[in-house]
Symmetry: C2
Subunit: 663 residues, 2 copies
Amino acid sequence: MSDPFDLASYRGQCRVVIDKLLPSIDGGAFPVKRVEGETFKVEAHIFADGHDTVVPVLQYRKKGAAQWSEIPFTELPNDEWEAAFTPSSIGFWEYRAFAWIGHFRFWFEAFGKKLKEGQKMSVELKIGSHLAAEAAERAAGVDAQRLAAISAELADESIDEAWRCTIAQSAELFELATRHPDRAKASVSPTMTLLVERERALFGSWYEFFPRSWGKTPGVHGTLREAIAHLDGVKEMGFSIVYLPPVSPIGVTFRKGRNNVLSAAPDDPGSPWAIGSSEGGHKSVNPALGTLEDFRAFVEKTNALGMEIALDIAFQCSPDHPYVREHPQWFNWRPDGSIQYAENPPKKYQDIVPFNFECDDWKNLWQELKSVFEFWYAQGVHIFRVDNPHTKSFEFWRWCLASFKEAHPDAIFLAEAFTRPKKMYRLAKGCFTQSYSYFAWRNGRDELREYVEELTKTEVAEFFWPNFWPNTPDILHEYLVTGRRNGSIARMVLAGTLSSNWGIYGPAFELCDCEQFPGKEEYNHNEKYEIKKWDWDKPGNLKKLIGRFNWIRNTNKALQRTRNVIFANTDNPSLIAYVKKTPDNSNIVIVVVNLDPQWPQSGWIELPLWQMGIGDSESFTVRDLFSQDQPDGKTESYVWTGRRNFVSLRPGNKQAHIFVVER
Amino acid sequence: MSDPFDLASYRGQCRVVIDKLLPSIDGGAFPVKRVEGETFKVEAHIFADGHDTVVPVLQYRKKGAAQWSEIPFTELPNDEWEAAFTPSSIGFWEYRAFAWIGHFRFWFEAFGKKLKEGQKMSVELKIGSHLAAEAAERAAGVDAQRLAAISAELADESIDEAWRCTIAQSAELFELATRHPDRAKASVSPTMTLLVERERALFGSWYEFFPRSWGKTPGVHGTLREAIAHLDGVKEMGFSIVYLPPVSPIGVTFRKGRNNVLSAAPDDPGSPWAIGSSEGGHKSVNPALGTLEDFRAFVEKTNALGMEIALDIAFQCSPDHPYVREHPQWFNWRPDGSIQYAENPPKKYQDIVPFNFECDDWKNLWQELKSVFEFWYAQGVHIFRVDNPHTKSFEFWRWCLASFKEAHPDAIFLAEAFTRPKKMYRLAKGCFTQSYSYFAWRNGRDELREYVEELTKTEVAEFFWPNFWPNTPDILHEYLVTGRRNGSIARMVLAGTLSSNWGIYGPAFELCDCEQFPGKEEYNHNEKYEIKKWDWDKPGNLKKLIGRFNWIRNTNKALQRTRNVIFANTDNPSLIAYVKKTPDNSNIVIVVVNLDPQWPQSGWIELPLWQMGIGDSESFTVRDLFSQDQPDGKTESYVWTGRRNFVSLRPGNKQAHIFVVER
């Protein structure tokens, strides 16, 4: 933009003002996000002084393309304009508004009004002739010839004036002249960026597990080859993404023992997040899990089942990591010659060494870290779960993810950003595809609604896509501890219907493992530090129910988006209700969850029928896809009428309804 | 900001993120506005990765100054920071956030925690010694010497460790080291602009009149010398600004006659807005009004009375304007050799010729137009009312007003921007001090509240200062026509208490001239086209009441700001109520207006006592400064208790209360 004080910096003849272009994040500093196939609607505030005609177009192109595509903006009231396009491929796109004064259009319209009023038209015809001649100069070929001919006719006083007026108002002249407008004095907005992600970025069901607990012999460190056997069961539960903790070698120095004690026993496997040993670093496979070939076999089997691997990338080192020896300049060193471990004073984390992002060799550090993603991408991993990104430089992420996704637009990055909101959102702006969220700590009706509306109804929705997890290896919330099986069902339904991306840490989740470490919101005997023996067929497990739930998600488009949620009022605070629907109302899902895992709850819900294409006194059938209570194994249905309808949910029997509207 | 894809464009070692700096308009493209003496509070969203200490400062300077002043930000929850300063003079200021990682501070705090925990401190002391030595290198003189000495002490193992720990935690070391922080890797926000205006820009009472109607002989064109006699009466009504329509020569070609008819009678004076004739252009005085000396005398007399002149500047020409002859390149010409007049097809305005802001000679045009302001500024006019700015290039205004105010920061510009909201707001962003508003068309309680809240409680308040006018020579709203005297009183109170800037077109207003031109929202026998004979002492005139009203405004600080309005709920939609107060509650005004000019209205108002520093069950006295009903001429007062209080207002007797709270 021009320096307001400096005349020399102005393009003074450009009279059109492009005041705003929306959506855009921080004036275009960060990309807006959409998913493939979605229509991208742009709104602009555009006007000029006086009564002249403004002609604005939306220009867009794939980043790097030489030519802009162009579509006209449609005028809305109050100097607002809109235009929409559907990007034809995933990756980065650019868009901007471009607008000029349409002198020909203004003349053309004014001519019509004046003609109707019976004003003298001779001078108007001459002006039209000039305008057509100017357009002819900008045109070429046939267009130029026709414009020149019309220009001559309009000015030819030997031709009947009424006939010339007809030519002046002809569709042919309008078409030709507006096809070759004078853009020399056009205004242009800043260029904004749009990031188009693939479908899986917005719709995925994640299942996290530790392969080492799935060896042939329970309690003995398993290999990737052995854990392959677990994948069929994950597929049966309907998951689309298999998420693995880091698979790299684990450090020995200061290794943590079971339940996070400071000294490990000789056979303790260590935390997979303490990365690097004499056996290799971020680009190696822990020999206890197998080889790189084994890893690839695991990936291939996952893909063959129609699922994808998400790999955990944690940019931190154990003190034994080869980087420490090979690139000491990337770390902080203490005056006694020891390496600076992670700390949050007075707490010390001596098994973890952070990178020094302020080091002079930052460019090589950044490039090496990015090459870790490149390495695993080459092994078939196109989805990454990034550990603690908020403890690494924000600017590093911005560069790393933008440039990585420029080369590999199908890559998906989930930020484990359990941090304060502004940091969380900044990481999302800086091209993380998805982020963990505060979902685990939002359990009441009103706090759930408030949070989800912040994520879906504010500017945040343009760049932040949440992933809702009822549990993780780090988080076992009190609600699950006290709610046990019923609580787990409630949280599953909430996670996977409020957010189109959801995930669980299994099998702790489906087995309803609810034992907290005393005084902590964490699992006791945490799998991070030990090999677990899981009885996957334990009575009461949720495997079948999860399978049913993911099947509902996989077969209802309305549940494959997050922003499309509309909350419904309930008169009982233990009941939460909301509608999710496709834009064309062809799939409408109504979810009602009893948030109370102990007691039956009933009440009235008030549906936003006017947003669902249903009349206020209309009847419609709702079928509960989550129920299989009938003797024939079919689902229950009800006929509802109008906005207010009654529901009753009994824990143990039915914790939630997931209705689809049938009409 | 760096190109996200290009590593070379990054300052990669700068880890602090400055995500937002507020207030700021469109990312700093336009200035935020404040008035002299006001404290300017800045909020920033600043954070860094990890747990390190962030040290942000607010830097500010007068535009053009070489050095930044600097104050620390104070931390609020959730990565928000605030800082405030009071600009020492009017004009343009610059501000930005500047922030770095405070390694010394982090070490200092961590040292304290570790010491308390009984950890080993020997390495920590060495780190402290290094940090002090580094600070010594950045310091000079005594500071450098002391830091070097402390550095040596901390590392000197011959000194008792407990004593060295005491030194490490000493206030002296903290003071010295934080005075010389390492800013090499500091992040810096974009530079924002603040425009500080003089007090009169935000608080003024405008009186518009046509001097030519105030000659010695009623009905005969008066001169400026003659009209001087009118000024005492204006002063008595308590006005601070005397606003004159254009005083330049008026065109003859296509001059409009009485009531805007197309052909003028020989003695019709013409509209002052059809500027320019053989007698001169924008920098000349209409000889019928007098000379430039007469004009200066008029200005001097106005100033001597403690008022200021506002002059109307209309950037358009009559066809007779010298510019048309001298600078034909600034206009559009038609193929028949005639000049292009203004039109809004099919309407023609042949008495008015617009400038062509797209002309190739735009730089000279811009400079000439700016020189018109310079010319009148030199005659003592520091306040300008700008006619129809939205029909001239927005970019022209942006440059003209910014550069003019840079040279003359006391200049005030009122935009006559009766146009759509986005254009109105854009002009305000482009340095117009004030703007006319939609006030004339907001007459109901809820629409008044909604509009005023848009102007005072949204981002608009940062750059748009309204001026509320019950009438203008162009606008006579139906409310005044039907409401007559009582309606005029209601509109006066609303205008001058909702907005700290208000004005009237007199004497039409104080004489309650309510005769509309048939079918138009305009005065009949409009003074724009004829010399009027006014009987200024007509019975029922509002002169004394206006005087009282402006006295209340002039003596109550709470009414001298616009943004400080707080609406109070009323149970009767014909009653509007609001509170205006100084930040310290030393002056609290409660306004209640009966919006019905015909019928008595009464009801309950609910005061926001919690924002007024009054307890919910407290009693307080409200004195109605607008009443003089008592036999002794004193004002009425009431003792009120609590939030809900009853009011009753009878048109003809009392249209409004303007209470001041006495405690």
